[in-house]
Subunit: 529 residues, 2 copies
């Protein structure tokens, strides 16, 4: 065995922003990959390693769990944790620890999913899963897995940068809430959530021209739950949902999981194509239109005001409700706000989705749905029947964070960071990518859409890119029919300017090599789609 047995090579950098357990996991993973810890080898006991490093044993246990999830080690009851025979790498030559479906959708599984790694036991009865669940599993299995690691620039990741999380300020709000409200925070909330937070959101919405009363705002468990609830309000399995091409990848998962199918609507530079929308909404099986008018995912573009009015006119004519996903509403870093559909809606057509996941951090798990009349009534009943209520602790902390002004200060900082990162991205694209490449010019949000000037399925570039040290989201993930695409989504959410420069340089090399073109040809032909 190559095992030298000494855990002394593990070091924790206390000034690092990376949590200790991740540092441990990364170092052990590197040792395993380098063959310095061989298959079958026992890792140091959790208790002794924790003592040696001066850490809580949970921290070490978490590192081991993460390695277990990634397939590097396995726990054997009563015997310890052992290095496993390495799995066959998937897709990119790296470990399968992040789901493209999640990444593409603006989120990310931070460890291996049990999906695909959950054998039944000998003798188990094979149970019939509902058809939508079978379709959902199949969809997830078509999606690529990404490389990861410190050496890979994560341009695919649509998760706000943990280096920017206002943890101390938020923790103070948390502790104040616990101190001031005590046991009441640990009972059930109403299904609608904390009335103070609903009032605070209503007040903030007025900046955008949305005049909803607090009673018309229902808090939910992240915007993702909001999407799921909004779909259930209007649809049954077999129905269709109009979506833009391209659209948010996780909406495609949500559709599959609810037995729904997408009805594709083409886009142009102004937003969704009005004639196409008119045709699609005329079909009786299409029950709702899902759209992301501001800082579109994956495009990064913003639907014009004139087009928004057209969308509402068309939807009203067909009596089809519109789910407006405002997940990055607060993240404009240049230009002027364009009124949300919910602000322009005079006939109660729009269900508006809002979220703190991208503007603050996902872990707060607070989003909201805005609706009125019978739709609101159905929404409250559905939220209650689905999971009763959300966690008041998080809502009570958040309302303090918002009302103290800390949220607006944080937003100001995030917007400055976003402007700088998007500028760095545009600059890097113009110097590194081959001539003829196009990129959108987002005025808000994290994502930018790049199209290559030659025929290629960008999914086929993923493995080379990962080896070169960069990952991105291939365009096909966002296509309702999963068609190949020469587009790709690049996100600046969790990468700084230096990382962007490094990542795009690597991407440019891979693309130019594939294109068979000379390096350094780059100048983007245009900055919009």
């Amino acid at each position: 065995m190559a095992f030298d047995g000494s855990p002394h090579r593990l070091r924790i950098d206390e000034r690092s922003d990376e949590p200790a357990y991740q540092q441990i996991a990364a170092q052990l993973q590197a040792e395993i990959e380098a063959g310095r810890r061989a298959p079958g080898e026992r890792l140091p006991a959790i208790r002794s390693l924790a003592a040696e490093l001066g850490l809580h044993r949970d921290t070490v246990a978490l590192a081991y769990e993460q390695l277990g999830q990634s397939g590097y080690v396995e726990a054997r009851a009563g015997a310890g944790t052992f290095v496993r025979t390495l799995r066959t790498p998937v897709a990119t030559g790296a470990r399968r620890d992040e789901s493209a479906a999640a990444n593409a959708g603006g989120t990310e599984r931070t460890e291996a999913s049990a999906a695909g790694a959950a054998p039944g036991r000998a003798g188990d009865i094979v149970l019939a899963l509902a058809p939508p669940v079978e379709r959902l599993i199949a969809l997830e299995n078509t999606r690529p897995r990404y490389a990861s690691g410190d050496d890979v620039v994560a341009l695919h990741r649509l998760i706000p940068d943990p280096r920017l999380y206002p943890v101390a300020e938020f923790a103070a709000c948390f502790e104040a809430a616990l101190r001031e409200e005590g046991p009441a925070l640990f009972s059930y909330a109403s299904p609608e959530g904390d009335p103070r937070l609903r009032r605070a959101i209503a007040e903030r919405f007025r900046r955008y021209g949305i005049g909803a009363a607090p009673e018309e705002i229902v808090l939910c468990h992240g915007a993702s739950q909001g999407i799921s609830l909004a779909l259930r309000l209007f649809t049954q399995p077999g129905d269709q949902v109009a979506v833009e091409v391209p659209t948010y990848a996780n909406v495609l998962s949500a559709l599959a999981g609810h037995g729904l199918s997408p009805a594709a609507v083409a886009m142009d530079a102004e937003g969704v194509d009005p004639d196409a929308l008119d045709r699609v909404l005329a079909r009786p099986e299409v029950k709702v239109f899902y759209t992301i008018p501001s800082f579109h995912n994956p495009l990064g573009t913003t639907t014009s005001l004139a087009r928004r009015r057209q969308i509402l006119e068309i939807a009203a004519r067909h009596g089809v409700p519109v789910v407006e996903d405002g997940f990055e509403l607060d993240l404009r870093f240049k230009g002027q706000d364009v009124a949300p559909l919910a602000a322009l809606d005079e006939v109660g057509l729009v269900v508006h989705l809002y979220s703190f996941s991208k503007s603050l951090f996902p872990g707060v798990r607070v989003g909201s749905l805005t609706a009125r009349g019978r739709v609101l009534e159905g929404l409250v009943a559905l939220k209650h029947a689905t999971d009763l209520s959300d966690a008041l602790t998080l809502q009570a902390a958040l309302v303090r964070f918002v009302e103290s002004g800390a949220f607006d200060r944080h937003l100001a900082r995030i917007r400055r960071v976003l402007a700088a990162r998007h500028a760095a991205l545009a600059a890097a694209l113009s110097t590194e990518m081959p001539a003829g490449t196009t990129a959108t010019a987002p005025e808000g949000g994290y994502q930018c859409w790049v199209e290559l000037p030659f025929e290629v399925d960008t999914r086929d570039l993923l493995a080379d890119a990962a080896r070169a040290g960069v990952v991105f989201s291939p365009g096909t993930l966002f296509m309702p029919d999963a068609r190949p695409s020469r587009g790709m989504r690049l996100s600046v959410a969790s990468v700084d300017e230096a990382e962007i420069a490094r990542g795009v340089a690597a991407l440019g090399r891979v693309v130019r090599e594939r294109a068979g073109r000379a390096p350094g040809a780059g100048r983007t032909a245009g900055m919009h789609l």
Copy 2:
């Protein structure tokens, strides 16, 4: 106006367990009900009342919000908060602030729902809601509303007693988690949740003979979300779900919301009737069986070991999965554990639901689902497509709470409290209720089922009971076909021995009066159903 204008009559009792905002709301409500604050009258400004009482303005605002939700006051933008004309009382002569649906289901809406109080606006388009949502709204509207208030003994409430919440210990775990793990806690979790907590649950499950691996346990947003996910795994709208008669009221809501209908299976003293189960599971439209074998809700009874084996044999023969709701699994206060279905299951038929909502408090919003093979794979995909992940902060705090031993200490305390309260309940029933009344003899959990010895729909007793100072859950709420019932569920969750004695005495008076019998006749004929 009867307004004396002085807020000095409001007093905050700092030693009370009731939060300050509730104290304010209750006092203002009493004044409004007594006519001492008349319709149209302006309440003191939030800022000045907060200053006078030495409270944060949020606290006062929350009290006003609660009054607004209950219909007592209304806010007018820029003008202040005004007393409203009182609404017509509903059902019990008290304010409509709690939904029977929620209460009956073991939870409670702590404020008025927007449902039923959400008029559209003039000119709004009427949108078509999905048929299951319409059915869900209709179901919710059939349910009675309860009286509440400090003077009413809440024997309907299946929410752990806030006076017993280990808030300080849990808050310390919270703060330790924030301190030790920092930003990582604020990103997305994997859909399965914190691996340490899954491991801790797996370890605890071994006490009950459940041998699931941590990888087979998926955390969810309370057991209610677990029920919703479990139903979606196996069903599509139009399908049927076998349920016990009676059963958990919120499961009936969940079925309606998913377009499913219940297939009723009768029970006897041992649990569900095997012949009836066999007949129901033979029907192809019945896709899953939902059961609560331990500390049944609403009965409080426990299915015998022999019957459990029969259930599994029958389900296996028909290839129908079983959802076992173990929501009070940890709450046995006397007698011996009976192996959960999940422990007896040798063929992977059982999806096991577990929750911390009743054993710790609901606000932690952590439950779990245990499954394997393809079912597990589908579950993870569905959880991810539904709301991505739960809040890591709460999970990280909970794992510390469990691993430190605080949870077991808390459970020991809760079990002692439960034993004493159930003894008080049995004693009060035997002296206060008319002869011939039967009551179950629970060995765990909060709820007990009482049947009256004469023909009556106990729902018709609710209003009299509320006036006499007690509320309970009428049996009809738990009937899949909403048939009238002379049964009622009494819960000791949030009432102490003195309150139980007072509540049952009041209930006894109402029942005896209705029965036309002489008071004091009481001796229960039997303590089981």
